[in-house]
């Protein structure tokens, strides 16, 4: 079998890249995934999208991605349900209030539509939040959410319509190396030769990179989320609480879905969830939204991401192996997928590395070029 591009990983990154390659006329793209469709982090995430952070690098990249989100349904010909109901970030301490101030400045410089949210604005947009706890707040009015079931369905259909070959439950067992380049992938006994090979395997990316004999920094990191019973609308914008590393939103199904990070709780690359995150997230929720205290929890689940040293994506060619490309290290993968797909497709097709993608080079840790980003809700 032969493909122009072989993509390892059929999650949001892999499918978006395949779609963008197909859009450029490259239709003999093959995608391989060891698991089932939507089984990885692409089917287990917080679904929230915003266009700005506190660093210029993140803001330029994710700002571009956010603009692509707005038109994605029309491009795919399928509705990804990206809803612009707003995305608010709250700070409860001087430290995080400073992060918000810095973010707003950077975002203004990058032309991102975000603005501070006053106490009155907070009362209007998020009436259930305990305002006395909030020191500073900001909102992306056209930020929002895109439920992964709709996004993944749209991507899958759009890829299939354009002739992309999707292979789920198909593990790649080796990556073919010839003359210092990646020449394709082995699925069991069968070699699929390819002009370019892409690793977009989420938490499994470092292990897949080993198949090509190269190193990919970062480690698997388990994150957990949970959903409550469905309520009539009480929470309009998506919400990130910087001090608590909490994120949440109310879905179109009425459930309040979110999660938080508990320090140290990343042991074991398993999809089994555990009690600490649920308990801590519930406490954050009750402290910030006391009127929800009597609401019941419907279910909890875990997903595994690939955490890079600075939680930023690892995007671009791998420096130690020609024709091997990487889209990994994602902790904000939903947000970044449209930009990553478009810019990486451009790089693979033309060899040109876009300025917005360049800072996220795969070997930046080795080169001492890690990116400092404070407005994220994952941390060491």
């Amino acid at each position: 079998m032969k493909a122009s591009v072989a993509i390892i990983g059929g999650g949001m990154q892999g499918l978006m890249l395949a779609f963008c390659l197909a859009e450029r006329g490259m239709t003999d793209v093959a995608v391989f995934d060891a698991g089932y469709w939507q089984g990885g982090a692409s089917g287990r995430n917080g679904t929230m999208v915003r266009g700005g952070f506190s660093s210029p690098e993140w803001t330029r990249f994710f700002g571009h991605s956010h603009r692509l989100w707005l038109g994605l349904s029309r491009r795919l010909g399928h509705n990804v349900m990206y809803t612009q109901r707003g995305y608010a970030i709250l700070a409860e301490s001087d430290r995080t209030a400073a992060v918000i101030e810095e973010s707003l400045q950077v975002q203004r410089d990058c032309g991102i539509a975000s603005h501070p949210l006053s106490q009155d604005g907070l009362a209007r947009r998020i009436p259930i939040v305990a305002r006395a706890r909030v020191k500073s707040a900001m909102i992306f009015e056209d930020g929002g959410t895109a439920p992964h079931h709709a996004v993944m369905k749209g991507l899958r259909a759009a890829c299939e319509e354009r002739g992309v070959a999707l292979h789920y439950d198909t593990a790649i067992t080796a990556i073919e190396r010839q003359n210092g380049r990646a020449a394709g992938v082995w699925r069991g006994e069968e070699l699929v030769t390819a002009d370019a090979t892409v690793i977009a395997a989420g938490a499994h990316s470092p292990a897949v990179a080993e198949l090509a004999g190269v190193e990919l920094e970062g480690r698997p990191w388990r994150l957990e989320a949970m959903a409550t019973e469905p309520l009539r609308p009480v929470l309009d914008p998506a919400l990130a609480l910087l001090d608590r590393t909490v994120y949440m939103h109310q879905t179109a199904r009425g459930e309040i879905v979110g999660g938080c990070e508990v320090h140290g709780d990343f042991a074991g690359a398993t999809l089994a969830s555990d009690l600490p995150v649920m308990a801590h997230y519930a406490r954050h929720l009750v402290e910030m939204m006391p009127s929800l205290a009597g609401l019941r929890i419907l279910r909890q689940w875990a997903g595994i991401i690939h955490a890079s040293a600075d939680f930023a994506p690892l995007l671009g060619p791998h420096p130690d192996c020609r024709d091997l490309w990487i889209s990994a290290g994602w902790s904000y993968g939903v947000m970044g997928a449209p930009a990553a797909g478009a810019l990486l497709a451009e790089a693979i097709a033309t060899g040109r590395i876009d300025d917005r993608m360049a800072p996220f080079a795969v070997d930046r840790k080795r080169r001492g070029r890690l990116i400092r980003e404070a407005a994220i809700v994952v941390s060491d």
Partner: protein, 490 residues
């Protein structure tokens, strides 16, 4: 005969959709409503079909704005305000009922994201707002309402036995006899009551066994940590980390996979017995008993409790349960019809899969059950293999997932399109994502796939049974935060 909160005949008033209902002290809300002749309690998510029949699903209504309160677990309090959920603008004039007339094909999984209303457009934002409004099970909670974190507790114990039936009692007695401290956790307020009603002899529990009755083990985590809650009294949740765990959680009966099996009036044997004992089955109501075995022994017990049986047959012979708002009859495979107001199913039986699955599930690509760890064991009927779902012939109109409105027809079309992975089907349809969290929906799903493909039902497996089984409030969960330290980094 003394009961919780007073004599058996002590009366009190609760409210259903604003209308006063007389209840007896100690009643479950389900029994009180059933006695008052109220059948359609909740509505399914998309078609707004009346739901309530099977108490195994948990009768669901809203209490104080909170949706999906399980009425079979809720003890009535004077003045309690209960209401239908998922209705608009009011329970008496519910326009959402019109959804029952919508062709079912229009509301299949994915109807939320029609191509004609692409996101990025104003039209989509309006559509999404409408969806969000209609999806809410409970009304929005008033921002002025405040509630407190309920500090949880940790109970030190050597052995936990989950289930208060004969097997659980025997296990508890044996463990206590070896000098270990034993905690017996029973979902029912009177452990083993159903088994006793079925004629089983309950071994007496010695005083040194601690009993938590009316409590439910709602999750089992890696390493054997058990999460306990008494879901509906609002009190604190508890965590135990026993050295040994016995799962004597018994078996539940599954309704047959036929059209109408979700109608109010279809109930499992345990629910029927519970309602009859509470005096909530109206005199003169006729029931048909269906099941897999020992029906001759069960029938006289039901009759003794005052249930009039109009017939009795193998569950596999049922082809359809008739009715629009509630049960009016049952149709059997040779076309014979029996008029009745209730269908009681006593089989096929299936052990509750939640806790055993959680005790041994792992994997980074797919959460799958492994071997039970050595310190966790099954006892009694929980050990028995599952009986196959009753499905005389696969009928497109039958609901695989009653709460989320997933029909056999929808699964059939997805399978012909090439999707037969249960996790994928769950994500495409929402099957099993409602309040019952997959029981019985995923058994129905496997049975449907077996019929469609000719492969055995077990070969399809099931999606992961996620903790905590509905019941824990945010306030209760929040109270556990100080008790549960995160794992140390690997």
């Amino acid at each position: 005969m003394a009961r919780h909160g007073g004599g058996k005949d002590e009366r009190l008033t609760i409210f259903w959709n604003g209308r006063p209902i007389e209840a007896r002290a100690g009643d479950s809300a389900a029994a009180a409503l059933h006695r008052a002749g109220i059948r359609g309690i909740g509505c399914s998510r998309k078609f707004h079909r009346p739901l309530s029949g099977d108490l195994a699903l948990g009768l669901q209504a809203q209490l104080d704005g909170i949706p999906n309160v399980r009425l079979d677990r809720l003890i009535v309090q004077p003045g309690m305000q209960l209401g239908s959920q998922n209705v608009w603008p009011s329970p008496r004039f519910d326009l959402l009922q019109l959804a029952r007339l919508v062709p079912r094909r229009w509301l299949r999984g994915g109807f939320e994201h029609p191509r004609a209303l692409p996101s990025g457009s104003r039209r989509f934002e309006i559509w999404e707002r409408l969806l969000r409004f209609l999806a809410g099970g409970g009304d929005a909670i008033s921002p002025s309402r405040q509630s407190e974190i309920r500090p949880g507790k940790k109970i030190a114990i050597d052995v936990a036995v989950i289930g208060g039936g004969p097997a659980g009692r025997r296990a508890a007695i044996a463990e206590a006899g070896e000098g270990r401290s034993v905690l017996l956790i029973s979902r029912g307020r009177r452990p083993g009551r159903f088994a006793a009603a079925m004629g089983e002899v309950l071994p007496l529990l010695p005083g040194n066994i601690r009993v938590l009755a009316g409590w439910e083990a709602i999750a089992l985590y890696r390493g054997g940590r058990v999460l306990l809650a008494a879901p509906h009294d609002g009190g604190p949740a508890a965590v135990i980390e026993p050295q040994e765990i016995v799962l004597a959680t018994g078996r539940r009966s599954l309704a047959p996979l036929v059209p109408g099996a979700d109608l109010p009036g279809v109930m499992d044997l345990a629910s029927a017995v519970g309602l009859a004992r509470a005096g909530a089955i109206p005199p003169g109501q006729r029931a048909v008993l269906i099941g897999t075995n020992a029906l001759e022994a069960i029938a006289p017990r039901l009759q003794k409790l005052g249930i009039a049986l109009a017939g009795m047959t193998e569950a596999g012979r049922a082809t359809r349960i008739l009715g629009w708002e509630s049960v009016r009859g049952i149709e059997l495979s040779e076309g014979k019809r029996i008029a009745c107001e209730a269908v009681i199913h006593a089989g096929p039986w299936r052990a509750d899969p939640f806790l055993p699955f959680q005790a041994c599930a792992g994997g980074a690509l797919r959460l799958a059950a492994g071997e039970l760890p050595a310190h966790i064991r099954l006892a009694g009927s929980a050990e028995l293999p599952p009986e196959p779902t009753a499905c005389a012939r696969l009928d497109d109109r039958a609901f695989v997932c009653p709460c989320m409105d997933v029909t056999v027809a929808e699964i059939r079309d997805l399978v012909s399109g090439g999707d037969s992975h249960v996790e994928v089907l769950k994500r495409l349809t929402g099957c099993g994502m409602g309040p019952c969290q997959g029981m019985p929906c995923w058994d129905n799903l496997a049975a449907t796939l077996a019929h469609l493909t000719g492969r055995p039902a077990e070969s399809f497996g099931h999606p992961s049974y996620r903790a905590p089984r509905a019941g824990l409030t945010l306030a209760q969960a929040a109270g556990l935060a100080d008790l549960v330290a995160p794992e140390p980094p690997s």
